[in-house]
Subunit: 140 residues, 2 copies
């Protein structure tokens, strides 16, 4: 997976097997929390230590390789930073996070006129119920 290794270019971070595995896991799921990374990888990579996952998520975030998503009611999730700008759709029932591409010019326009505050970027989180969970709810 050269694609994964490339994510580290321009950083002083080394391409260790553990680190690459963590990045691959994040890329695979799109959005995933620390525990799931650890549990999933432990299966195929038994020596992987929890501390390594902690340290890596911290370091990778610090160097802008990944982003941390702070979402209501669920554990923080991580995603690869090098992606087209997007926002997030969160299912309040199952916690699944999906990328969503929104035109946010209206918001950007409004933030331009804020007195004294320089806005760098805006994040939008949309909360609702995904189709899978909607189906299940009908069943009850």
């Amino acid at each position: 997976m050269e694609k994964i290794k490339k994510l580290l270019e321009g950083t002083p971070l080394k391409a260790t097997p553990q680190r690459l595995a963590i990045l691959k896991e994040i890329a695979k799921f799109g959005h995933i929390d620390l525990d799931s990374i650890y549990k999933n990888l432990s299966r195929t990579f038994p020596s992987m230590s929890l501390a390594t996952v902690y340290k890596n998520l911290h370091t990778l975030k610090e160097h802008g390789v990944i982003k941390e998503l702070n979402i209501n009611e669920i554990k923080n999730k991580y995603e690869i930073a090098a992606q087209k700008k997007h926002h997030h759709l969160v299912c309040k029932v199952c916690g699944e996070v999906t990328d969503i591409f929104l035109d946010t010019t209206q918001i950007t326009e409004q933030t331009k006129s804020l007195e004294g505050f320089d806005v760098d970027y805006c994040e939008v989180f949309c909360y609702g119920v995904c189709s899978k969970c909607k189906e299940k709810e009908k069943g009850n």
Copy 2:
């Protein structure tokens, strides 16, 4: 402060001095994190225990009296739920959070057409630098 007591109407929650003090503190600051609530109140209310703050924030959130804000890089903050709908401006330097009133019809329109996903509400967080911090940065 009858205004504070009224926030508990319709819930089975009792108006204890501790709870009212916590709510008053949240209302006073607009947005405040758990530690600050505890530290601030400890001064005027020495017997206030940290566990009580934890339990109250949990219960008050559970009953929709307050909302928890999950913000990038800073500790979760709490705000009174019974407010006009608004969004948030976050200073990346000092962490101060300010309410902002945005017209989000453009986003709402877009989420209506999402296949299979029912969106209940969208949250917008705008990150940047506040005027105070901008001033200080100039100084350096």
